[in-house]
Amino acid sequence: MMELLILTPLEAEALRLSLWVSFWAVAASLPPGVLAAWVLARKDFPGKTLLDGLIHLPLVLPPVVIGYVLLILLGRKGLLGEALYNALGISFAFNWKGAAVASAAMAFPLLVRAIRLSVEGVDQGLEAAARTLGAGPARVFFTVTIPLVVPGILTGVILAFARSLGEFGATITFVSNIPGETRTLPLALYTLTQVPGGDAGALRLCVISVIVAMLALMASEILTRRVATKMKG
């Protein structure tokens, strides 16, 4: 009975890879995500609607399309991929970094939406007050705006992380299904459903996915509550 609770090496690898890929997907998209949210919330410029649309495209397009676009852009012979590899030796083709990029692209709109809402809720009077107290625009941004946006950032990060854990279509299209490199939980689950006698294994991966997702949501709830109590004194 106890051995049911122990992960098989394959499961452990898929889980570890999923967490690793999702972590980097969120970590790398957070700074540009905050910037994009701030720009969309505060600035007016020609082409703003276009930028807004571009960021939100992954929400409405089939993930396979995003995966294919990434392949064209960042693949080893891709428009940017080749130059990137020649200049910096960085490649996103068929490795975990590519999986992280695919996850990041799919999760980005969720991240930006949550943070943008939060930025729009910040009282600009507080920023003006900080200016009169001697803080320049950059200091105001980091000491007033960002701390007040923390609840939105937390929500966005958890949403994006959960979305990344579930990423399938763009990943398999862009970086394929390589064990130990790009085979995350959803891809491993899919693989098991394609082989005879894989049902039991697939079910176990289902349960693991549910547990990980639940843990992420609970962590977000606890963090948000802690931030709220802090603000109330």
Partner: protein, 366 residues
């Protein structure tokens, strides 16, 4: 101290003001809501950019359209106390207080953290967050936060307007103390006559975006041509006095003014203190002979200077009792007395009808 001459178009509204203020003390920017008061101090703080003109504080040009000078708000050294406090909700009271202070070089600070905490009586609040403070406490912390940047000028935008009268009493004395204890000039936006009576040394009267009068409180607030700004019920004069005598037996305090003595109900104040009183036009009666056997304690010999109809078909009589006094009467009363300029009459004012500011601007705590 502050010299300002600016023009700014805000939609269809145009702010076009020019005035200057004294070296220290409180200058009230008075006017109805929508007169452009807040826009003016926002321009001084650098939060709104004027279309043209200049702003100088202590000889330093903060803005000059002719020379393309526009110093950003963080370098203007203008402390700003907002009507709604605007404390940072994510920081403790202590961190709010030191937010601006830590950005000022030590050599430029003229007031210390301990001094401000002590002056404002906020020592017991330091560990709390703004959400846990009362309205009055919030404004005191906001005041402290601005003071700790060692500003060369304090701007206050109706700092008491959102407080009930008890909370006002928690903040007012601290504001009144500042000009004397820290020698800091204050530009104080308000539409409250009481706050002017209690706090202001000078008044700039603002109407539809224009400064239409400036001068001492007594002078500006007593001008008969400006009475409509006080509102119908509150038209009247302000008289500066000095406490001469407190008489427990009669229950009266005698205040010396240019034309003699005003008696008002007893209140706790040291002799010799300066106190401002306001006498509303509707509380002043006129008699042709000196009445006796009357409850009214203040009977001033007066000369009629002007008799004018008001917009509400009442009659405003301007009297000279050693200083200006206004009396608002009905046309019937005017006809009965046949009032004409130059006539000698008696002005009657009930003691209890006189409102007073606090001594030296500080209200007694009771």
């Amino acid at each position: 101290m502050l010299e300002i001459k600016v023009k700014k178009r805000l939609g269809s509204f145009i702010v076009d003001v020019a005035f200057s203020t004294g070296v220290a003390g409180i200058t009230a920017l008075f006017g109805r809501s929508g007169a452009g008061k807040t826009s003016v101090i926002n321009m001084v703080a650098g939060l709104i950019r004027p279309d043209e003109g200049y702003i100088t504080v202590k000889g330093r040009r903060l803005f000059d359209s002719a020379e393309s000078i526009d110093i950003p708000p963080e370098q203007r050294r203008c402390g700003y106390i907002f009507q709604d406090g605007r404390l940072f909700p994510h920081l403790t009271v202590k961190a709010n207080l030191t937010y601006g202070m830590s950005l000022v070089p030590r050599s430029e600070r003229y007031v210390s953290y301990d001094q401000v905490v002590e002056l404002l009586g906020i020592g017991h609040l330091l560990a709390r967050r703004p959400a846990k403070l009362s309205g009055g406490e919030k404004q005191r912390v906001a005041l402290g936060r601005a003071l700790l940047t060692s500003p060369s000028l304090l701007l206050m935008d109706e700092p008491l307007a959102s407080l009930d009268s008890a909370r006002k009493g928690e903040v007012l004395p601290f504001i009144a103390r500042l000009p004397r204890e820290l020698a800091i000039p204050i530009l104080y936006v308000t539409h409250s006559l009481d706050e002017i009576l209690n706090l202001a040394d000078m008044v700039v009267l603002l109407d539809s975006g224009k400064a239409i009068a400036e001068g001492s409180v007594e002078e500006v607030m007593s001008r008969s041509d400006l009475q409509h700004f006080a509102g119908n019920r509150d038209a009247g004069v302000v008289i500066g006095t000095q406490v001469e005598k407190r008489d427990e037996a009669s229950g009266l305090t005698a205040l010396r003014f240019a034309g003699g003595v005003i008696k008002i109900p007893l209140f706790d104040v040291p002799l010799g203190d300066r106190v401002r009183v306001r006498i509303r036009s509707r509380d002043v009666a006129i008699s042709l002979s000196r009445p006796d056997k009357i409850s009214v304690q203040n009977i001033f010999p007066a000369t009629v200077e002007e008799v004018a109809e008001t917009a509400e078909s009442l009659v405003d009589v301007r009297l000279d009792i050693g200083c200006p006094l206004l009396s608002r009467i009905t046309p019937a009363a005017k006809a009965d007395l046949e009032l004409t300029p130059g006539q000698q009459v008696y002005a009657l004012v009930k003691s209890v009808a006189i409102s007073r500011g606090s001594s030296n601007g500080i209200e007694e705590e009771n």
